[in-house]
Amino acid sequence: MWFYILKRVAQALPLLLGVVVFNFALIQLAPGDPVTLLVGDYPAPEEYVKQVRAEYGLDRPLAEQLVLYLGQLARGNLGYSYANRMSVAELIGKRIGPTLQLMITALVLAIIVGVSLGVIAARGRGKLPDFAAQVGALVGYSVPDFWLGQILIILFAVTLAWLPSQGMRSARSVATGFDAFLETLPYLVLPTLALSVRFIALFSRITRSAMLDILHSDFVLGARAKGLSEARVLLTHVLRNASLPIVTVIGYNVGLLIAGSALIETVFAWPGVGRLMFDSITKRDYPVMTGILLMVSCAVVLANLLTDLAYAALDPRVRYTR
C-alpha cells in the first residue's frame, strides 16, 4: 500500500513538471504585459520601463525565465508577486485557509445532500420524489453559480436580512480563535450553498444511476429475503456497492470545485485563493498565476490518489500492492 502511494507520487512528479512548463508557457504567451500595469497609469520613460522589466527578470528570454523558475521551484521557492510585492508562497499561505474552509464545507454538503437525494430518487423511481429530485438536479446543474450567488444575496441578505451578504466575518470584528470561527459560520452559509448546488445535482444524478444499476441485483434480493430492513438494504448493501462510481465522480470534480470557488469567492468577497487567481490574471501577475495553478494541479493529483485509495477501502476486491 505505501509502496503504491510512493509509486503514484513518483509518477505524479513528471506530470506536475509538465503542468508547470505548460502553464508557464501558456501564461507568458497570453497577450498583455505585466510591466504596463506595474509602471502605472502615466507615461513612463523607456528606461524606467526597461528597469522594471529587468527588475522582475522579464527582459530575459522565455526559456531562460523557465529554467530560472524551475530552479527556484526545486528549492521550494514559488517566486515573488509583482502585484502584491511579497513572496508567492506567503501570499498563497494567507489565502488558502478560507478556500479550504469553503471547499470542504461545500464538498461535504454536496456529498451528504447529493447522495441522500440520489438514494431517495432511486428508491422511489418513477414516483414523485424521483421526479422532483431529477428536476431539481437538472435545474441545479444548469444554474450558473455566480448568478445563483447574486440571487441568494438579494433574497437572504438584502430582502430577508437573515445572513450577511459578503466577506468572511464582520469588518468591525475583533474576535480571534474559536470566537472568530463561530463568527464565520453565518458568512459561510450563502457561498457554500451557491458553490455546492451544482455538485449536489451531479452527485444525486450519479448516485441514482449507480443505485438503479444495483437495486435489482440478486444479492439485493437475497438481502431482502433475509428480512433485512429496507434502510439497511439500501445503505449497507446497495449504496456501498454503488459507491465506486460515486467516489470516482467526487474525486474527479475536485478540480471543478476549485474553479467554481474562484467565481463564488469573487461574488461573496470571500478572501481565498480563487479570488487571488482572478486578481492575478487581471494584473498579469505571472508568478502567482503559475504558483496557484501548480497548487491546483497538486490538489487534483492528490484527489485522484485519494479516490484510488478510497476504492480499496470500499471494495475488498481492490488491493494495491505493486
Binding site: P31, S165, A171, A269
Partner: protein, 576 residues
C-alpha cells in the same frame, strides 16, 4: 460501519482548524486612546486662509493648523469604527510607488503631503505650515511643522522630504516622477525648511504636493535599506498621518487605528477605519444597504445602483466630488478613414452622446463640451461647445464623409472600424453598443473589442492596433497634470499618452505655455486657443464629463472636507 457522529466531529475539527488558520493574524489592538475629547481642540483661525493660486506668491503668513473646510457640524465626538469599501488589495501601501486608487484610499490616511486641497482646489497647510513662491515662480520655500512625529515616534524633518522626493517620488512615483525634469534642486537648509528650485515656472506645482501626488515617507526606514520597492515597510507603513497601520488580512480587510499623537490635536475622531475588500460593484452597494460598510466612493460605485441608493433614507449621497475626469472616444488618425479632421468631425456628428450619458451612466454625467471637459471652469472657451459644433445629424455626417473622400460602396458601407475598450468598465461596454449602432447609420461596421486592461494597454498605446478606443482620464487637479499628455506630440510609444498619431507644433507650444504661464488668466488664454484648435482637429471627442457620486452611511459626519473624498478622514466622526 458508518460512524456519522465521528465524521461530523472530524469535519467540525477540520473546519475549526482551517478557520483558525485563516488569514486573520492576531489583530493588533488599537493603542489605548486618550480620554475622549468631546469637541475638537480649538484651532487658530486660518490667517490668509486661501493658500496661493498655483503660480501666485503665497501669503507669507500661512495658517497654522486649521483647514478652511472644517465640517459644519457641532460637537464631533470620538470613537467608532468606519468601514470603507474598496475593490481589491492595493499592490502596496507605500503611496510613493503607486497611483493605484485603493492604495491612495488607505495611504491617504496614513501619510501626509506638504499640503492638502480644499473643496475649491486651494492648497491648505498640512506638513508645511507656510510657504512662499518667488516672483518668477521658480522657487518654492516651505516651512514645515515642528510638532510632527512618525508613527514610530521619530521626529519628522526636512531631510524626510528631500529624501522622499529625490530617492522615491522622482524615481518611482508614476505621476510625480514626471516632475523630476522640472526640478533643478531640492535643498534642506534647516530641519524645518525645504526649498524647491525649478528650471522654469510650473503652474500645477502646488497641486502636486498633496498626499496622493507626493506623500512624505520616513527616510530612516528606507535610506540604506536596499530596494525601496521591496522594503517590508511598504506593507506595514509608517507615516505621519491621522491613522496608523494595524493589520492587513489579504483579500479581506485592512485596518487602521487612530494615531493619538497626530499633530492636529484632538483629531482624528474615529477609533479605527477598516477597508473591506469587495470585488463586485453590486455587492458594494448591497453592503452599504445592509450596513456592513459605511462609505463607498464614486470609483467603486456601480452607477446602475445610484437610483436605488438615492432612495435609501439611511444613506447620504454626494455628487460632483473629486477632481475632473472625462471619458473620451479617441481616434487613430493613422486609420485612412479617420485621417482627416473632416472625417473625424463627421463621425462625431453621428454619435448620440446624450444617449450615452443617459443609458451608460444612468444620466450621471454631463455631455462633453470641449477637449478639456467642463471641470475646470476657469479655462472654458465659450465659443467651443461640441454640442453646437457637432450635433447629431446623420445626413450631414454622411455628406461630410463623402466630401472627405470616405465614400460608401454599393452596399452603403464605408468600411470596418475596430473599437477597443477595457471590458472591466461597464460604462464603456454600454457606450460601445450605442456607438456601434450610431456609426452603422453613417456606413461604418464597428467591430467591438472588449478586452482586458493589460491587453488594451498593449494594443492601444503600445501597438496602436485600433481605430477607435474608449478611454477615461483624470486631471489630478490641473489640466497640465492629466490632460496635456493626450494632445502633445509623442514620438515614442508609451502608455496613457497621446497614441492617436495627432501632432500639431502649435498645440505643443500652447500646451507648454499653458503649463508655465503665471496666473490663471494667462493660462486660460492659452487654453482657450487650444480648445479652438483641438475641437476642430478632433483627435478625440469627449463623450461625457464624469460626475462623482459617493454614498455614506448617515452614521458618518464630516466626510467630504477635501476635493478628494478619500482625503481628510481625520475630520470624520460618528455621532453617538
Amino acid at each position: 460501519m458508518f460512524r456519522p457522529f465521528r465524521l461530523i466531529a472530524l469535519f467540525l475539527l477540520i473546519m475549526f482548524a482551517v478557520g483558525c488558520a485563516s488569514p486573520t493574524p492576531e489583530p493588533t489592538k488599537a493603542p489605548p486612546t486618550a480620554a475622549p475629547t468631546l469637541a475638537p481642540v480649538a484651532t487658530t483661525a486660518p490667517a490668509a486662509t486661501k493658500a496661493p493660486e498655483p503660480t501666485k506668491p503665497a501669503p507669507t503668513t500661512a495658517p497654522t493648523i486649521a483647514p478652511t473646510a472644517a465640517p459644519k457640524v457641532a460637537e464631533p465626538t470620538r470613537g467608532g469604527t468606519a468601514v470603507v469599501a474598496m475593490d481589491s488589495d492595493p499592490e502596496t501601501l507605500n503611496l510613493g510607488l503607486t497611483t493605484g486608487y485603493s492604495a491612495g484610499d488607505v495611504g491617504s490616511k496614513i501619510f501626509n503631503g506638504l499640503v492638502w486641497l480644499d473643496g475649491s482646489y486651494q492648497p491648505q497647510p498640512q506638513l508645511a505650515e507656510a510657504w512662499t513662491i518667488s516672483a518668477d515662480g521658480k522657487t518654492y520655500t516651505f516651512k514645515l511643522r515642528r510638532d510632527v512625529t512618525w508613527h514610530d515616534g521619530k521626529p519628522f524633518t526636512s531631510a524626510d522630504v528631500k529624501y522622499t522626493y529625490e530617492e522615491i517620488l522622482f524615481k518611482l512615483h508614476p505621476r510625480t516622477r514626471t516632475l523630476a525634469a522640472r526640478v533643478k534642486s531640492i535643498d534642506a537648509p534647516d530641519a524645518q525648511t525645504i526649498v524647491f528650485t525649478l528650471n522654469d515656472a510650473y503652474a500645477p506645482f502646488m497641486i502636486q504636493q498633496t498626499v496622493f501626488e507626493a506623500p512624505i515617507l520616513p527616510k530612516h526606514l528606507y535610506d540604506g535599506q536596499g530596494d525601496v520597492t521591496k522594503n517590508p515597510v511598504n506593507l506595514k507603513p509608517v507615516g505621519t498621518g491621522p491613522f496608523k497601520f494595524s493589520e492587513w488580512n489579504k483579500g479581506a480587510t485592512i485596518k487602521l487605528v487612530r494615531n493619538d499623537n497626530y499633530f492636529e490635536k484632538g483629531k482624528p475622531y474615529l477609533d479605527a477605519i477598516v477597508f473591506q475588500i469587495i470585488p463586485q460593484g453590486a455587492n458594494r452597494s448591497t453592503a452599504l444597504e445592509t450596513g456592513e460598510v459605511d462609505f463607498v466612493v464614486d470609483f467603486y460605485l456601480a452607477k446602475t445602483d445610484v437610483p436605488r441608493l438615492d432612495k435609501n433614507t439611511k444613506l447620504t449621497g454626494k455628487r460632483g466630488q473629486g477632481a475632473p475626469a472625462i471619458d473620451f472616444m479617441m481616434f487613430n488618425t493613422r486609420t485612412k478613414a479617420l485621417a482627416t479632421p473632416e472625417a473625424r468631425q463627421a463621425v462625431a456628428m453621428a454619435i448620440d452622446r446624450k444617449r450615452i450619458v443617459d443609458q451608460s451612466m444612468n444620466g450621471i454625467g454631463r455631455v462633453g463640451r470641449g477637449p478639456f471637459g467642463d471641470g475646470f471652469k476657469w479655462l472654458l472657451n465659450p465659443a467651443v461647445d461640441f454640442d453646437k459644433m457637432y450635433p447629431r445629424d446623420v445626413a450631414k455626417a454622411k455628406a461630410a464623409l463623402d466630401k472627405a473622400g470616405v465614400t460608401a460602396g454599393a452596399d452603403g458601407m464605408r468600411g470596418k472600424l475596430r473599437l477597443l475598450y477595457d471590458s472591466a468598465r461597464p460604462q464603456f461596454v454600454s457606450a460601445a453598443q450605442i456607438i456601434k449602432e450610431n456609426l452603422k447609420d453613417i456606413g461604418f461596421d464597428v467591430d467591438l473589442q472588449a478586452i482586458e486592461r493589460a491587453v488594451m494597454i498593449q494594443k492601444v498605446f503600445l501597438d496602436w492596433e485600433y481605430d477607435l478606443t474608449l478611454q477615461s482620464f483624470v486631471s489630478s487637479g490641473d489640466p497640465a497634470i492629466g490632460y496635456h499628455r493626450l494632445y502633445i506630440t509623442t514620438a515614442t510609444k508609451a502608455q496613457f499618452t497621446n497614441q492617436t498619431g495627432y501632432t500639431n507644433p502649435k498645440v505643443d507650444d500652447l500646451l507648454a505655455k499653458a503649463a508655465t504661464a503665471p496666473g490663471v488668466q494667462a493660462r486660460a488664454g492659452f487654453y482657450g486657443e487650444l480648445q479652438t484648435i483641438l475641437a476642430n482637429d478632433l483627435p478625440s471627442i469627449v463623450l461625457f464629463d464624469e460626475e462623482g457620486v459617493d454614498f455614506a452611511s448617515k452614521k458618518l459626519s464630516g466626510t467630504w472636507a477635501g476635493i478628494d473624498s478619500r482625503d481628510r478622514w481625520d475630520l470624520v466622526w460618528m455621532p453617538k
